[in-house]
């Protein structure tokens, strides 16, 4: 069932670029990344594209396929309409490096600003801890994150409003939630969440949850509980009063 398809790929860099059409023949069972690689090997040796594992585990090949944020390695060709050109463009929330590769270094800088894991003293004499599976299920969900940054790409606070200096984005709210809800962690990250990390900017449109290739329920399980913690800490008048009058010591 060989078929000829047209890929309309964005070529360019930080100074600008344009879509270029490549027509190639595809066979059964391919994913978008295979076709991009075929074009790279046969028609455009210098086409820049990030990829590593090709199995949806490393989160490198994020791009926008027909306008939808996707991992190219996990997007089967038979899920797309191949009668029309298929557009492939880089993640638009990040600056371009070249072609499909974007500058995602902002994400790595943000992470270093989040306070690291700080465990309680070990539970057992041999220096180990005890945790029940049901107490770590939620954290394990967050730790499935492969850092593809598709959630950051689709978040309107970053994509449309460019508030990169005031908001850390869904990925790092999930990261913070994993730390805050870790049964062993003793650190408090609520002051930064409220201030520098701007959790209030999220208005729960759930776009991030929709595009997550690991199916992490980002908004419901991570962001909303964190928002609740911030509200309880800073905006609850009864809580505020209680903290003022409770017996000290």
């Amino acid at each position: 069932m060989n078929k000829t398809v047209t890929f309309r790929i964005w070529r360019g860099d930080a100074t600008g670029g344009k879509f270029v059409d490549y027509t190639t023949e595809i066979t059964e069972g391919l994913v978008v990344l295979d076709v991009v690689h075929k074009i790279q090997a046969t028609q455009a040796n210098d086409l820049a594209v990030r990829w590593n594992c090709k199995a949806g585990k490393c989160g490198s090949c994020s791009a926008e396929v027909n306008g939808m944020p996707k991992l190219m390695c996990m997007t089967r060709m038979d899920t797309l309409n191949t009668d029309k050109p298929i557009t492939i463009e880089p993640m638009r929330a990040f600056p371009s490096i070249r072609d499909l590769a974007t500058d995602v270094s902002w994400n790595f800088r943000v992470k270093t600003k989040i306070k690291k894991f700080k465990p309680r003293a070990p539970d057992a004499a041999d220096g180990t801890w005890r945790m029940q599976q049901e107490d770590v299920d939620r954290v394990q969900e967050f730790r499935k994150c492969i850092e593809c940054f598709l959630c950051q790409d689709v978040c309107h606070v970053l994509r449309d409003h460019h508030l990169h200096d005031e908001f850390i984005g869904p990925r790092f709210l999930v990261y913070t939630a994993a730390l805050e809800m870790h049964p062993l962690d003793t650190e408090n990250r609520l002051p930064e969440l409220k201030q520098a990390q701007g959790i209030g900017y999220c208005n729960i449109t759930k776009c991030c949850t929709k595009v997550c290739p690991e199916h992490i329920t980002i908004t419901d399980n991570a962001i909303i509980p964190l928002k609740e913690r911030v509200v309880d800490e800073y905006y609850d008048p009864f809580g505020w009063l209680w903290k003022k009058i409770r017996p000290q010591g």
Partner: protein
């Protein structure tokens, strides 16, 4: 000339940021030296993320009969006794502490009912031994090390590729490379260098390795004068995806079999029961019912033959396919869905135990593994051989040069047990970082000569300066031809004349690689990167082939149809490869030092 390049100055430079490299960098920086870390990709994307099953450590959380002695004996048996016994001993003794350390750094392993780190069964391990997180243990390992490491003051260089090591006389002096984003050349001066570049599966057509697995570190070290060890031992993982074609080679974790998955041929027969090697007979069930109970943690049951060592299972699959009993696309069937006969809610159980596998098949192959069997076949997975290192310090024969992880050799002998790789990374990554830092503290800065840097630059830039046309070609065709040749002639079943054909073929490909021309610019240019990687692929392919021709027996990952049996004499040596003064590749056999009585006794006790 060297002054023309931006230069970074470190005490310890770690090349490679997978599990071993990150662990080495963390240890070195904890020792108080200045550390640079080179990532070929973005931080946290290294091939370690692909490890699924777990990391082996004899903690005895699930079965308290386990101990370092059993783990040591299992590792030696799996490696068929050509392992570096001291490495196997250190690994078995230190792995539990390294795993606990990960928990202290934030890793969240699956738990036992008592709240301890859970451990699962895996091929070749006598007791449940693999600490795991579902089937994404590698991701948990790399993320834990990454998230800990970013607070350690390590300088991280992402998307940099090293093209050659620099030396000052006999000792290492640093490395020369480029950044992928802009194609700018960089000099990294360092007192000590740790090579942690991982695997070399990209020398083969069917592999579980990503584009990065081009054996860079092994080749860089070899060209700098380091010795290589046992390059002939390549692990072909028995279960890779084979359909659809685009996913050919991608790994299907051994945990599928650990959780009760069985292998069947097209006639529905569980063929693994037909061929159980003598040295595993006492540990292997002959009754499917008993095998099932083993996978459900019945301490009195023996393991099913699907969980024999990877080399053996891969050859049995190969045999079924060649005998015409394979599946439609040239593999065999791996079935976990059958457990619905045994447990209620089996679909939910499978999704919880093997979530990545469920999604991988659902999304890439449109197949529901809770309902249907998978089609699988062997895939090039792991190099047991690599850079020769000292067991205690991970030092190579070049002063100041260290290696750890897959690119180093010794621990796994002729065949690696599943789960022993992740533990290898943290045990020996730590040791490499520790001893590299000591070396850096005890030695003055090395000098980097401008001539050396200029030569490295010339070599890297050459592909742009060759005129297109007139006998030149692009890099991809040369790479494909090499991969297909290695797959066909130095693969899972080997023959003298085929390997000699490959060796001659490598010479021809070297001549073609020397004429490869690339177009365009230095910025993010994958064609150019492939042209540079070709040198590494050709170097390691030659080493694998030389080793495989020399070893006239079958052992572990090295199977020769013309010498199908083990030769007891060949158990006494390792093959050592080095670069001769005339630039040619030379192989010699070196006798394995005698094992201390105490360790011999451990092996006897565990037989």
């Amino acid at each position: 000339m060297a002054t023309n390049y931006e230069t970074f100055d470190y005490d310890v430079l770690v090349i490679g940021a997978g599990g071993a490299g990150l662990r080495a960098a963390i240890e070195a920086s904890a020792a108080g030296v200045k550390v640079g870390l080179i990532c070929k990709s973005l931080l946290g994307k290294a091939h370690t993320v692909m490890a699924e099953g777990g990391m082996a450590a004899a903690m005895g959380n699930v079965d308290d009969r386990d101990s370092w002695k059993v783990h040591f004996a299992d590792t030696m048996r799996g490696g068929q006794y050509v392992n570096n016994w001291r490495m196997a001993e250190l690994h078995a003794k230190e792995a539990p502490a390294r795993v606990h350390e990960l928990e202290a750094w934030g890793a969240v392993f699956d738990r036992t009912k008592e709240g301890k780190i859970s451990q699962r069964n895996f091929g070749g391990h006598r007791y449940p031994r693999l600490a795991h997180v579902g089937d994404r243990t590698g991701l948990e390992l790399i993320r834990t090390l990454q998230d800990h490491g970013i607070h350690q003051g390590i300088s991280v260089h992402m998307e940099y590729t090293i093209v050659s090591l620099l030396k000052d006389g006999d000792r290492v002096a640093g490395a020369f490379g480029y950044d992928r984003e802009r194609g700018r050349f960089r000099v990294f001066k360092a007192k000590a260098v740790v090579v942690c570049t991982g695997g070399l599966g990209r020398a083969y057509a069917v592999t579980s390795n990503s584009w990065e697995g081009t054996g860079d570190g092994v080749s860089l070290a070899y060209h700098a004068g380091a010795e290589l060890l046992d390059m002939e031992f390549i692990q072909f993982h028995p279960t890779g995806m084979i359909w659809p074609p685009s996913v050919r080679g991608i790994l299907v974790t051994e945990s599928v079999r650990g959780e009760g998955g069985v292998l069947r041929n097209k006639d529905g027969k569980r063929f693994m029961y037909d061929d159980i090697p003598d040295n595993y007979k006492s540990q292997t069930s002959t009754d499917p019912e008993e095998g099932w109970r083993y996978t459900q943690n019945d301490k009195n049951a023996k393991r099913p033959p699907e969980l024999l060592t990877r080399d053996h299972v891969a050859r049995c699959i190969n045999r079924e396919v060649k005998a015409g009993r394979g599946s439609p696309h040239g593999g065999v069937f791996l079935d976990i869905s059958w457990i619905k006969e045994k447990i209620p809610n089996s679909a939910e159980h499978i999704k919880r135990k093997l979530p990545s596998m469920y999604h991988q098949f659902m999304q890439l192959a449109n197949l529901d593994i809770t309902k249907e069997p998978m089609e699988i076949g062997p895939t090039t997975h792991y190099a047991m051989g690599g850079i020769r290192v000292n067991a205690e310090t991970q030092a190579t024969n070049i002063p100041g040069l260290y290696a750890a992880g897959e690119c180093a050799a010794g621990l796994h002998g002729a065949n690696r047990l599943g789960g022993n790789s992740l533990s290898d990374l943290i045990v020996f990554g730590k040791r490499a970082g520790e001893y590299a830092a000591i070396y850096a503290k005890e030695n003055p800065a090395a000098n980097v000569s401008e001539a050396q840097v200029a030569a490295a630059y010339r070599e890297a830039i050459e592909p742009f300066e060759r005129p297109a046309g007139s006998g030149s070609e692009g890099p991809y065709q040369v790479q494909y031809d090499l991969q297909n040749m290695m797959q066909a002639n130095v693969g899972i079943v080997r023959l003298q004349n085929e390997m000699e054909f490959a060796l001659a073929g490598i010479d021809k490909l070297k001549a073609r690689a020397a004429k490869v021309a690339v177009q365009g610019h230095l910025e993010y240019n994958p064609g150019w990167h492939t042209a540079i990687d070709l040198k590494h692929l050709l170097t390691i392919s030659e080493a694998i082939t030389l080793g495989a021709i020399d070893r006239k027996e079958s052992r572990g990952g090295h199977f020769r149809e013309d010498f199908p049996n083990k030769d007891p004499e060949a158990a006494k040596y390792n093959s050592v490869i080095s670069k001769a003064a005339d630039g040619s590749m030379k192989l010699r056999r070196e006798t394995i030092p005698p094992m201390p009585e105490a360790l011999k006794q451990v092996i006897e006790e565990m037989k």
